[in-house]
């Protein structure tokens, strides 16, 4: 491997200031640091540093996305074939799903990373790793039948308007992947909702409604809890299997990269709202068991992968509890009450993304008040 290192060392001067390709410095740097952890040493402060970096963090999240991705690929095929009245073997289903999902992933990464590289270059920054995760999240929240050009437009919108205008990874207010989803939802409502889009190339006669779609028209004829938990239902590519998402959650919590505090708070919030509706019980939707909400639609996926995005979530420990709880509550609230949107998770998370700084503000203010009070007590004690 010394050959590769020597090659990079030889090419490096061309990409540095004054070199032939200095305009591509960020690009070179991105590839170099992808291949090798840099040889940079500490110059101030602590002389030793933790082995973790942003690349490691992001790759763990991508790993955690693998179970829902693999299940999603299979399920896209499975849903397609059963809608057409066929029951093929495992591999044809995976094959069909792969042919549907893979192009979406490619488009998402190519468009998103392309824009990231361009912005990094213009700003003379290093390329941020954040999109490694966003680029995988975007395909997983898309309906399987989404046109590729829409994926491209949505990704571009999310990266530019959702992230780069704020200054890039770490500065954004909204979760980029959800921004992409919301953009499509509002820009192309006819292509993004209804019963057609959740099953790829479905037969016309077959109802493709998701469980949430059923409930929207107060039809409680739902798939079994087992099917919903396992994910044998129509829906966005990565959202259907609560089990696969649970595997990802275990990895995120075990490594300490995803906030267990947020995940738990969202679940408690959702259950609380569901139970409140149970008590009210004004219609059939309100009467479904509260835990159904956890296994339907994007609730689980949003809880584990979206609400926990450290940049757009609340940043204080206490704030995370309020933030998560409210996400869960509002998601269920929107589901049950809003006639236009069957899924409340996306809007709920985006709404709380906006309010997260406010939540943190009040948490920090209480800390400030504690300090002022302590000072006052000290003064009185002296007198």
């Amino acid at each position: 491997m010394k050959v590769l290192r020597d090659f990079l060392d030889k090419q490096k001067p061309h990409f540095e200031k004054g070199g032939r390709f200095e305009k591509l410095q960020s690009t070179f740097d991105a590839f170099e640091t992808f291949l090798y952890v840099p040889d940079k040493v500490t110059t101030s402060g602590a002389h030793i540093r933790d082995a973790i970096d942003m690349k490691r963090t992001m790759i763990i999240v991508v790993l955690a996305l693998i179970p829902p991705l693999l299940f999603g690929i299979w399920n896209v095929g499975y849903q397609h074939f059963i809608s057409n009245g066929m029951t093929p073997d495992f591999w044809p289903m995976v094959g069909f799903g792969f042919m549907k999902v893979f192009p979406i992933i490619v488009v998402s990464y190519v468009v998103g990373l392309g824009i990231e590289f361009a912005f990094a270059q213009v700003r003379h920054h290093e390329v941020n790793e954040g999109f490694l995760v966003s680029g995988m999240l975007i395909p997983l929240v898309m309906p399987p039948d989404v046109p590729l050009w829409m994926v491209a437009v949505a990704t571009a919108f999310a990266v530019v308007i959702g992230k780069e205008v704020f200054g890039g990874t770490g500065m954004n207010v909204l979760n980029p992947a959800l921004t992409a989803r919301a953009f499509l939802f509002f820009a192309y409502p006819s292509e993004m909702s209804g019963d057609r889009v959740w099953i790829a190339e479905k037969a016309d006669a077959y109802s493709g409604a998701t469980p949430l779609g059923h409930l929207l028209i107060n039809d409680t004829n739902l798939p079994s809890v087992h099917d919903m938990f396992m994910g044998f239902i129509p829906g966005s590519i990565g959202e259907t299997s609560t089990l696969a998402i649970l595997l990802g959650a275990i990895l995120l919590i075990a490594t300490g990269i995803g906030s267990a505090r947020i995940m738990l708070s969202v679940i408690v919030g959702g259950l609380t709202m569901g139970l409140l509706f149970n008590l009210w019980g004004a219609n059939a939707y309100m009467e479904i068991p509260a835990y159904y909400h956890l296994v339907m639609g994007g609730f689980a996926f949003g809880t584990v992968y979206m609400a926990t995005d450290p940049v757009s979530a609340a940043q204080t420990a206490k704030g995370k509890i309020y933030y998560g709880f409210l996400i869960g509550m509002i998601a269920v609230l929107i589901r049950v009450f809003n006639p236009a949107y069957p899924e409340g998770m996306m809007l709920s998370i985006l709404l709380l993304n906006v309010f997260a700084p406010l939540i943190d503000h009040y948490v920090v203010q209480s800390n400030i008040k504690m300090r002022l009070k302590r000072a006052k007590v000290a003064v009185t004690a002296k007198v």
């Binding site: 090798y36 840099p38 540093r49 933790d50 973790i52 970096d53 790759i59 000072a375």
Partner: protein, 453 residues
């Protein structure tokens, strides 16, 4: 020591970093005649020289004073000759080098029982002899102002930093000097002297039998030994408060001054780190030459020498000198290597607070750590990791951001008076974004000090 756990302050948040190269508990005398006092060790001091190259000095002879607080004197640790006055860019004063003559002559400041002196007399003796700079204050970690009356004085008897020296060993047999030092310090405050010990590891009678102090027991990982954490738990600093602090070897120097009348700059220094062949303790004076400290005792690896510990120490060259406040020297490998796919491989031997490397399964593993950043600098993205190693009731990230935007009011409200660079060292180590936080905190403290003066 019998431990009554009900009175122990438990520090839960923190991190002990286990490293290879702990000093063996033996103390040898160091043979060297090269010493230097470095004005850059003293935050906020503008040095005004009192000697020229070639002058003869005794232990306790003034070398330089602080231009704006001219009663604060910095004196020679040994008798000998001023060998060189080293300056850096813009003629900044870097080192006043002394070549010892081996005669151990010292100026006589008169031996006196501190209990029989008044506050002014104690302060004057400390100032004149050059012992005063050992007493520092919070906030800002600058040398204490003799005109202030601190609300309390803190002494941390244990150090929880990686490979830190064992103060039990260092003070062994120095009970008389330690008590004399405490007696002198007790003249300086109307409040308490807090002697903070490790509930599980402090056994020395020198500490536990001290009179005229309040002994506070602490238990927990680093930074439990940091004086900032101890102040926060026992007697927190509010706006306008001043707390003074010093360390066991400083108390010994203060005590010896009153017992013998002389500035005794003796320092026991732990020579530590994976690149030291035989890590152990040496007995020398303040400002000893690094070359002498590590002579014939280092490996051939390309390494970094650090005056102090790996968290807060300063990089020194082989021809440099140990800093005034440091009682430890650490040698670790430099990390100037490229590591292929280092971020993606499992990494069984990687040190990390996060559990994203399998090494977290081996709790007591000792690491050979180097100076590599292990990644590129990024915006602050991850949250909640700093709080895991920051045992203050302060929001570290919010405070850092307030400092970065220089919002004085917010910094004050968020508790900047209670912290120092060293309190952010662990946050800096575990940071995914590789932000140099200690520099930021120092900038904030300097800004506040300027604002408040």
């Amino acid at each position: 020591m019998k431990v009554d756990m009900s009175t122990v302050t438990k520090i839960k948040k923190g991190l002990n970093i286990n490293m290879i190269g702990e000093a063996e508990k033996t103390i040898k005398d160091l043979v060297t005649d090269q010493f230097a006092i470095k004005p850059t060790d003293f935050i906020g001091v503008f040095p005004k020289l009192k000697v020229n190259e070639g002058d003869t000095v005794k232990a306790g002879s003034p070398l330089f004073i602080d231009k704006y607080r001219d009663n604060i004197v910095f004196t020679s640790p040994v008798s000998g000759k001023v060998k060189e006055i080293k300056r850096g860019p813009k003629r900044i004063l870097l080192e006043v080098k002394i070549e010892a003559d081996g005669k151990n002559e010292a100026i006589d400041f008169k031996a006196e029982n501190p209990a029989k002196l008044n506050r002014e007399e104690v302060i004057k003796k400390l100032l004149d002899s050059g012992v005063w700079p050992m007493i520092r204050q919070r906030p800002y970690s600058v040398i204490a102002n003799p005109n202030d009356k601190p609300k309390s004085i803190f002494i941390s008897t244990f150090d929880t930093a990686p490979l830190a020296p064992d103060n039990d060993l260092i003070v062994h047999g120095n009970g008389e000097a330690f008590q004399a030092g405490i007696d002198a310090l007790s003249k300086l405050t109307d409040g308490k002297i807090h002697l903070n010990v490790d509930a599980n590891a402090t056994h020395s009678k020198v500490f536990t039998n001290s009179k005229g102090v309040q002994i506070n027991q602490f238990a927990g990982p680093h930074p439990a030994g940091n004086v900032g954490v101890q102040i926060n738990k026992i007697d927190p600093i509010n706006k306008g408060d001043v707390v003074w602090y010093c360390y066991p070897q400083d108390v010994l120097a203060i005590g010896r001054l009153f017992l013998t009348g002389k500035f005794d700059a003796t320092r026991v220094v732990a020579i530590t780190g994976s690149e030291i062949k035989k890590p152990a303790y040496v007995k020398t004076k303040i400002g000893a030459a690094v070359e002498a400290l590590v002579k014939d005792n280092t490996t051939d690896v390309f390494k970094r020498l650090i005056s102090g510990n790996v968290l807060t120490g300063t990089k020194v060259e082989l021809d440099g000198y140990l800093s005034f406040y440091h009682t430890q020297l650490t040698a670790i490998p430099e990390g100037n290597y490229h590591e292929m796919f280092g971020w993606a491989l499992p990494g069984f031997d990687k040190f990390s607070l996060s559990r994203s490397f399998p090494s977290f399964l081996f709790k007591n593993k000792k690491y050979k750590l180097d100076t590599n950043y292990h990644g590129g600098e990024r915006a602050l993205v991850m949250t909640g990791i700093y709080e895991k190693v920051f045992p203050f009731d302060i929001y570290p990230m919010q405070l850092l951001k307030a400092i970065i935007v220089e919002d004085i009011d917010l910094m004050e409200n968020l508790g900047i008076y209670e912290v120092d660079e060293e309190d952010f060292a662990l946050c800096e180590v575990v940071d995914t974004s590789k932000t140099n936080m200690q520099v930021i905190v120092r900038k904030g403290l300097d800004l506040m000090r300027k604002e408040m003066s």
